[in-house]
Amino acid sequence: MVHTTARRKLRKRSMFPLVNTLAMILLMFITLYPVINTIAISLNDGTDAVRGGIGLWPRVFSTKSYETIFVDESIYNAFFITISRTIIQTLINVVLTAMLSFALSRREYVLRKFITMAFVLTMYVNAGLIPNYLLLQRTLGLSKSFWVYIIPTMLSCFNMIVTRTFILGLPDALVESARIDGAGDFYLFWKIIFPLCMPVLATVALFVAVGAWNSWFDTHLYNAGKVQLHTLQYLLKMKLATTTNSANAAMTSSDAAASTTLTTPVTIRAAITVVSAAPIVVIYPFLQRYFVVGLSVGSVKG
């Protein structure tokens, strides 16, 4: 009791909480300013936006940019491709990660050490960009195909480790009692372990889904020549490449000259940015509880 009052007194004198709060508010402002600024630009009139200097609010309000991008057929197709790949990739990853993690969490499994080591090494041994490209492009012939989005990305070692750590934290008695009742490993996995893993699998699903939604490089490398397979991020990337903002225009005369015919107005660029970021930004705060738990569990035994 005595020291609580002493602490209260101390806190009353200290400026720290106030300074800390202000610092955090400043930090939130720095984090959010660029995002809000982009939204403001996307909602501004195109010719007015060229003057620059738009802050947190549109100067001349207009939804023209959004109307323009939603008239273009290609964005609907890109949405469809992006959503399909995100859903398929996430489902495959979740099921395979859970199965593998379960098998590798059983201490009596004879191949446990070997397979775990093989997976952990993949985090450090990487053949590199070109050998992987040659494998997918030449050996497997996956370019210009939707499957190049799915097949190379079915599993990740990091997600396996996080999930396995979670399963190892479950009480052994669960598995043992079911085994005494004569349950096989499939039954054990599907009926007992899988339902219990939902919190950590939600984390895995979120990581995979965000990665799938945000990827553009596989499109760039394998499917650039096939417009029907372009993803949303790749579409945005192409629009960015054809946008010349004043700073770049001054410096890269050759680039600017090459792209003057294809220039995308800043407002349209901003509108596509907002559209391609919106789904994640809207969904993620609701999942925050899960990934914080999942990541903390995984970090205990990295």
């Binding site: 984090t31 599993l155 990337k237």
Partner: protein, 321 residues
């Protein structure tokens, strides 16, 4: 743990078997587990280990149209070519410079932020700050680079601020001058990942025994003394594990941001080993040289990771391996 061991023991000393059951017999008993893991093993053998085979082409003058072993063997010629090329030396320099900046910023800022977040008493406010600062982590590099190009443009927010405060007289061409590139990448990385990287530190901090703080208070320790002598030592092992992991991934110092943001004018400062490999391998079709660059990168990565792990072990810290 105990029960699992007991099961193995019963199987091993079972009455019907006089000797240890053979490996294959055990595997047959565990066929359901094998079915749940061996296909995945084959999967990574194909997608993660088989491409390593492609490394031999670094010692050839490889042309994809010719069958593999009919290509001309050239020994280390491709590697010599790389190290005699100033462009590649610059790519190494850029990779290391940006990696070092990211490594330092990537530890200092998240730990500072975690320390400050840990001092916030109101859970509501704390959660709001967390939600906001995690947000950029979820944005793709395409989006982040797009936003950065707006903010750092000559008429963008940063220049307006600098001009407004009278720090400089004319707008700074952040995006068009090589000397700013590394620091721009560092700053953007902090903006994107700083909040996210606090999660693990906050988890480690919440595991610290509150009795330690109370004892320190009894002894008259102030806020900063407690931070320095309780909170920071409390997250030390987390820090070491993350440090080793990050040093192992140092050469991955980023590819997307440099690729998306590096324009021709800043290429001497923006081109990393990966971009070099991409350019020579895929755009110019010089596969052998590009693969040689990739091998160099992988070997340095492994050496760095083992070195960091060894140092940590010598210092008596928890290690990865």
């Amino acid at each position: 743990m105990r029960t699992a061991k007991a099961t193995t023991a019963t199987v091993a000393n079972g009455p019907m078997l006089c000797r240890q059951p053979s490996f294959w017999r055990k595997l047959w008993q565990q066929r359901q587990l094998a079915l749940m893991s061996v296909p995945m093993l084959l999967y990574i053998l194909l997608f993660n280990y088989f491409p390593l085979w492609g490394w031999i082409t670094a010692f050839m003058n490889y042309k994809p149209s010719v069958p593999l072993f009919e290509n001309e063997w050239v020994g280390l010629k491709n590697f010599i070519w790389l190290f005699e090329k100033p462009e590649f030396i610059r790519a190494i320099r850029n990779t290391f410079a940006m990696a070092a900046i990211n490594l330092v910023f990537g530890f200092v800022f998240p730990i500072l932020l975690a320390l400050f977040l840990n001092e916030i008493r109101s859970t509501h406010f704390k959660r709001t700050v967390q939600t906001v600062t995690y947000l950029p982590h979820f944005l793709s590099w395409v989006i982040v680079v797009g936003i950065a190009q707006t903010i750092f443009a000559s008429d963008g927010a940063i220049n307006q601020l600098l001009l407004g405060l009278g720090i400089c007289k004319t707008p700074v061409f952040f995006l068009g001058e090589g000397k700013y590139f590394w620091w721009l990448v560092g700053a953007i990385n902090v903006w994107k990942e700083c909040g996210w990287n606090t999660i693990i530190y906050l988890a480690a901090m919440s595991a610290i025994d509150p009795a330690l703080y109370e004892a320190a208070e009894m002894d008259g320790a102030g806020r900063f003394t407690k931070m320095l002598h309780i909170t920071l030592p409390g997250i030390k092992s987390t820090f070491v594990v993350l440090l080793i992991m990050n040093i192992g991934h140092l050469m991955e110092a980023g590819f997307e941001i440099q690729y998306l943001m590096g324009q021709n004018v800043v290429m001497d400062w923006s081109q990393t080993i990966d971009i070099f490999a991409l350019k020579y391998g895929i755009t110019k079709g010089q596969y052998s040289r590009a693969i040689a660059a990739g091998i160099f990168k992988s070997l340095v990565s492994i050496a760095l990771m083992l070195g960091a792990n060894f140092t940590a072990k010598r210092m008596g810290e928890d290690t990865l391996l």
